[in-house]
Symmetry: C2
Subunit: 495 residues, 2 copies
């Protein structure tokens, strides 16, 4: 083709604001060529271009050389999800109207009073923990003061250390366990409101875990203090506050408030508090908490209420349908809750405490095995379990499987306490849900280690389905059903 | 840390079949070091590791150095879509039971007989088109036989060509239009069944377009034949069959059956027919056709029936809810229909015809503007419009916008004929739906040309929403409503 024709084609393309422009530069034999310029009174265009000039495959055929991109279908998925959920919102509002009602929400005054007392009791227990450590530390200081270096004296030191540890361990166990047991008793028998109960129980469990970490860590710091030559490998960061200088009330109070369950005498700290950062995180937290409340009231509650009859008669298809209907909303609530707690609240807390290590989670959403998920979604608990349960057991010669078993059993007990006590129903769903993680982990670990993306994708899908699409809504349904069976009604909603 | 400790850590990792293993190599100061090996009767592990040793950001914080991958959320989206639709399937089956009923489907014998007659009439019209071209070709051959080379004689040749073209054009127009008009009349007034009607009407429109292309192309081939020096630029591929040798019944019959609307004397051809390929494509077509039928009967029909009352009273929220409910199923039917026709059927046909150019579509799903979509989803029609409407008009000096306007007007008329005639309702929705593409194209073209991926993503979303999530289900709803208003019931389904 002469260059004139191409120029014309290009001109069309540039001026074409609309679709059917000549974006494909196919042959235009009719464009004015020098030889035909004299015949301009005929139509310049000729309908003869060979649009079909080459062998070509359909792009979806296997014969096609390149697989086309499917990015458009990803956009379509997002849109279909939005459309489907918008439709459910309209359907919900046509069926139920507005279910959100601030005044309808009732709680007993007794619940609030008891909850406040429980919260106030916690610092007392922490003070006791401090007192226990202080006396153990002063005993250790005495031993070190009398520094004698014969083998016999060293042996006596060791015996003294062990008998001190026996007492401290007993006292710490009593102190921490009384705190947890008292809270659990009060929440189970005396606090009706599940929300207030959950807050108290969660705080008690956190303090119990912190207490354990405080006791174990101080014991081993004391041991290193007594035998500086035998254990030279204390982390460098601790040098800023060597044992027993860390045993102060301020240090313990910092650990109480810090967003971690692992006690260290010293933590990495930021230089200053960015109050605007704190404000933004708190705004996120409050906003998301409201969203969660609205979603629960408007969308989760009707589904839960409508499922009661179906669970009662064990209509499997209907229960399945209810679990699926609940799964989307519980997933959204779960994701919002994760972000509100682990991103917004813990970051705000860390900023206020100038706590430097903000890795409260890693990218758990990409987990290609259940194991990877449990390692990454809740780092504070994971690090506690690793430092104070898993690694010590493996160090004592337990197999990694047995140690993991122990970790998940402990975690299962704590989960059942956290859900069962405030809802006044130990139905064991949270316990067995956690224990069920072990076979799921065994199942998905090989997928994670497969080469290529397929194994990882399958593992990730198993994680999402087992955890978010089935496990959580099913658990919520069962605890709701148990509550309903025991009390008849969650709250006096007029529907 | 000494290397022994690392070796122990690595051993843990390898033997760890479960999750909470030491996959993170953090400090393990308690692993047996040579100096502490003598004190093995104490627990070897020490609870002192500094898990919080560095300043780190949460991965979702803006402060984080790298944005984490969100691949897991893509998997989640797919799973939620599957779960939501599975739930709708269960809900549908609980509400309606099985709606699929082969015997219930009734059609009148008259429809089948008339449809067959219409199909049989088409070859007669094609024979007429051939006869018209044959006489024009013989006239041209005569002129060329008398080859005289004075300017006056050339001028007379041109006049003869133009008067021949006037007659051929008139005859072709009469022939093609009678064929289309007759079919439209019979389908509109005499064939009740919309499926049979659509098949007849679609065939008639295709043949009309092919007729136009045949007439235009042969005219310009004839012109080139008469003035070989003036138009030397006929595509090379045509040399295998120069005008007037292409004017044969076999050549026209091939064009009739070939999967293209653009006439060329010669097409790229494959060497042989792979019958296994044909069988696979036909199996795909039959399978998808059955899927589409099942989906329509079980899922689309109830939604359509339930929307009648709401359209009648113009309840906007309910109509919106119905369109959204319909959009998913209409989208699936649309995608299945696209694949069945453009990938399966046209590829099977092309293979049987040894037609080489299989580019019946390009990756329209990634279209970032409506213009790109209309250029890529239906290449046969696009190429026809470009070769025989858009390019000639632009060649005559029309602006690209005006030419596009013409293309879409023609297309709108054909769309309305294709939908309105078999459903016996010219309600203009298809027509205005097509005309509405012009403003949408104008709107989305700037997005397509934006730098970076965001403009393209927005354009792609506008395409999906306007076309698949709103346009199609709304159109289906309105034609169904019109049908219902006219005939009362689609078919005698017992619900």
């Amino acid at each position: 083709m002469p260059s004139t024709a191409q120029a014309v084609t290009t001109a069309h393309e540039h001026s074409s604001a609309l679709s059917n422009g000549n974006t494909e530069i196919t042959a235009h034999p009719s464009a004015p060529t020098p030889s035909s310029a004299s015949k301009r009174r005929h139509s310049k265009y000729r309908h003869v271009a060979a649009y079909h000039a080459n062998l070509r495959h359909s792009s979806l055929s296997r014969d096609a050389a390149v697989t086309p991109s499917f990015l458009g279908f990803r956009n379509l998925m997002v849109l279909v999800l939005v459309a489907m959920n918008l439709r459910l919102i309209i359907e919900n509002s046509m069926k139920y109207g507005v279910l959100i009602c601030i005044k309808c929400h009732d709680y007993r005054k007794q619940d609030v009073v008891l909850g406040s007392i429980l919260f106030a009791l916690v610092p007392c227990h922490l003070f006791l923990a401090y007192a226990i450590e202080l006396s153990a530390a002063s005993a250790a200081k005495q031993t070190v003061g009398q520094q004698k270096r014969t083998a016999e004296e060293k042996e006596r030191d060791q015996q003294a250390f062990r008998s001190t540890w026996r007492y401290t361990a007993l006292l710490h166990t009593l102190n921490a366990t009384i705190c947890l047991a008292l809270t659990s008793f009060v929440v189970y028998f005396l606090i009706h409101h599940p929300g207030i109960g959950t807050l108290c129980e969660l705080h008690a469990i956190i303090v119990w875990l912190k207490n354990c970490s405080y006791a174990f860590t101080n014991r081993d710091l004391r041991l290193a203090f007594l035998n500086p030559s035998a254990d030279p490998d204390l982390p460098e960061i601790y040098e800023a506050c060597p044992y027993p200088r860390n045993v102060t009330l301020g240090n313990l109070a910092y650990f109480w408030m810090a967003p971690t369950l692992v006690y260290q005498p010293v933590y990495p700290r930021t230089a200053s508090i960015r109050w605007s950062f704190v404000a933004k995180r708190l705004a996120e937290f409050v906003g998301l908490a409201m969203v969660i409340w609205l979603l629960s009231a408007q969308y989760a509650t009707p589904v839960l209420r409508n499922s009661i009859d179906k669970i009662a008669v064990m209509d499997i298809a209907s229960i399945l349908e209810r679990v699926m209907k609940l799964s989307t909303i519980s997933l959204i609530i779960w994701l919002a809750g994760f972000f509100a707690l682990f991103q917004a609240l813990l970051n705000a807390l860390a900023e206020v405490m100038r706590f430097g290590d903000r890795e409260f989670y890693t990218d758990w959403w990409n987990s290609s095995s259940l194991g990877a998920y449990w390692r990454s979604w809740n780092r504070p608990v994971y690090l506690f379990m690793k430092r104070h349960v898993y690694s010590p057991l493996v160090g004592r010669g337990w197999s990694p499987f047995a140690a993991s078993m122990m970790v998940f059993t402990l975690s299962a007990v704590l989960h059942e306490m956290l859900v069962g006590i405030p809802t006044h129903n130990f139905i064991g769903v949270a316990f067995f849900g956690m224990m069920f993680q072990l076979p799921l982990i065994t199942l998905t670990t090989p997928l994670e280690k497969m080469r290529g993306p397929h194994g990882k994708t399958i593992g990730n899908c198993i994680f999402w389905v087992s955890f978010c699409l089935v496990g959580q809504p099913l658990g919520a349904l069962l605890y709701f059903f148990a509550w309903q069976a025991k009390y008849g009604s969650v709250s006096r909603m007029s529907v």
